[in-house]
């Protein structure tokens, strides 16, 4: 069902947790659907210095979360905004058809966290 890369990221997820004083926080999905992803970012000079995730969801949800953290860590905000859900799935060697829709939201969570950071900055 799942590719080896998905299983690897599910079994050894990268960057699990929450950054304590994160300046960007994004959460997408809801428990009703069975998938929630929360991304916390430490952003400095338009750069993602650190990123962590927490996910409630299926194997694909966990793996995409883990993968996206690797993909955006060290990237500029603009670069990170260009990472799509599809790119995450591709980086994992593909996802089962049924998982493409619901569980492939990790990039959205990152984007939400970046937006949160930018929103707060504007307010300041």
């Amino acid at each position: 069902m799942y590719s080896e890369k998905v299983i690897d990221h599910f079994t050894n997820p990268r960057n699990v947790g929450e950054i304590e004083n994160a300046n960007g926080i994004g959460q997408v999905g809801n428990a009703k659907c069975g998938d929630i992803m929360k991304i916390t970012l430490d952003i400095k000079d338009d750069m993602i210095k650190n990123v962590k995730f927490k996910t409630f969801g299926c194997g694909a949800a966990v793996a995409t979360s883990s993968m996206v953290t690797e993909m955006v860590k060290g990237k500029t905000l603009e670069e990170a905004m260009d990472v799509t859900n599809a790119a995450v799935a591709e980086a994992l060697g593909g996802l089962p058809e049924t998982k493409m829709h619901c569980s492939n939201l990790a990039a959205d969570a990152v984007h939400a966290a970046i937006k949160d950071y930018l929103d707060k900055k504007i307010k300041v």
Binding site: I7, V16, A31, K54, T55, G57, C58, G59, A60
Partner: protein, 389 residues
């Protein structure tokens, strides 16, 4: 890796005796039972012997058994067949919210095609209320279908009580007994069942075989037309090896039921109690004690999602099942757990462990050792879980 199979409600391995018997019918006694020559007569006899074996396990007459390709087809034959045959008498149908999709979706199909459907709720233990059922009956009710035992939470339904009511009112009573066959004693007569579905692959028989009990005198319409096999109710060359394997499985199930149930109940309770005592924030789904199927454990583990749990168990060689939407391809989690009042979130985190003939006490110990670690790990990853809880 040692593999521990805890998904016996989904399907079972074929008993070696049944499998060996089937081999003979694949290779040697391969005739078509409709043929009048030696090859045909030989297998015809074995077919009728199997019919007797299946009938015996539910106290039916062999002539009341119609073989089908499985539980799903038998459910459809019963429900579509009875609804069509009786449509002149009324259009109202009743079933429950926790039926298998083979029942529920068939009724929903009929409801879209001129019938009216009442779906009964269940209580928090997953049991249909007889009072609700009584209230739902109308003068034009022609068919009521209630399962004998639920496949997800193991809740046993008050079938005999319902049968008394339907018989009195002249309403056809269909019972989906796929999960109870070979696990609970079934007597179609004391249950007052008019139609009753059984399936082979849940009781160590082959997949692709089932049967519908049709009480003498009850008329139903067929689903498929053709060579007039099974007294015209189920045309098509009979799956004789499969049917004969099913017959054998029924015989063995009847012989072993009592002893097996003692073992299963002990292991089930050990597993349930172990989970409760080792893992916090869990909830057993379904009734306790003798209102529950012997081999069924179903538990909601808060803050984590079922598929992740299954994957993690699978990596350790443990095969289980879940009511999570992610495991069914649908968007909603188990309709059974939702009907019992669970929230979506909690239903997503449900785990079903269904025990069987070959599970050992060591299997249980292993699960009880590993499951808490997995739950811990997944909860650490979950945005819903806060240590403080």
């Amino acid at each position: 890796m040692k593999r521990i199979y805890l998904d016996h409600s989904a399907t079972t391995p074929v008993d070696p005796q049944a499998a060996e018997l089937m081999m003979t019918y694949f290779l040697e006694y391969y005739g078509n039972p409709s043929s009048i020559h030696f090859f045909g007569r030989q297998v015809k006899k074995a077919l009728e012997e199997a019919r007797y074996q299946v009938a015996s396990l539910i106290n039916a007459d062999p002539s009341e058994i119609t073989f089908t390709s499985g539980g799903t087809e038998a459910d459809n034959l019963a429900i579509q067949g009875a609804a069509r045959a009786r449509s002149g008498k009324g259009k109202h149908l009743i079933t429950s919210a926790i039926e298998h999709h083979a029942v529920l979706d068939t009724f929903k199909y009929l409801a879209k095609n001129g019938y009216e459907l009442t779906i009964l709720p269940v209580d928090e233990e997953g049991i249909v209320s007889v009072d609700e059922l009584k209230k739902a009956i109308r003068p034009d009710t022609i068919l009521i279908s209630i399962m004998h035992a639920n496949n997800e939470v193991g809740s046993i339904q008050p079938a005999a009580e319902i049968g008394r009511i339907t018989r009195e009112k002249g309403i056809i009573f269909h019972v989906d007994a796929v999960q109870s066959l070979g696990k609970l004693p079934i007597d179609v007569k004391t249950m007052n069942a008019d139609l009753l579905t059984v399936s082979s692959h849940k009781i160590y028989g082959p997949k692709g075989v089932g049967a519908l009990y049709i009480r003498k005198g009850i008329k139903i319409s067929p689903l498929v037309y053709g060579g007039s096999q099974e007294r015209k109710l189920r045309s098509g060359t009979e799956n004789t090896p499969g049917i004969i394997g099913f017959g054998k499985a029924c015989e063995l199930a009847g012989e072993r039921m009592e002893e097996e149930n003692r073992k299963l109940i002990t292991q089930r309770d050990k597993l349930m109690n172990g989970i409760i005592s080792r893992i916090g924030h869990v909830k057993i789904n379904g009734p306790l004690g003798d209102k529950r199927l012997p081999g069924n454990v179903n538990v909601s583990i808060n803050y984590i999602e079922g598929e992740s749990l299954l994957l993690s168990l699978d990596m350790l060689g443990i095969a289980a099942s879940s009511g999570s939407a992610c495991t069914s391809g649908s968007l909603d989690p188990s309709h059974v757990l939702l009907a019992m009042g669970l929230s979506h979130e909690v239903a997503h985190g449900s785990l079903r462990l269904s025990l069987g003939r070959h599970n050992t006490d060591e299997d249980i110990d292993f699960v009880l050792e590993e499951l808490p670690k997995i739950v811990d790990r997944l909860r650490m990853m979950s945005p819903l879980y806060h240590k403080a809880n």
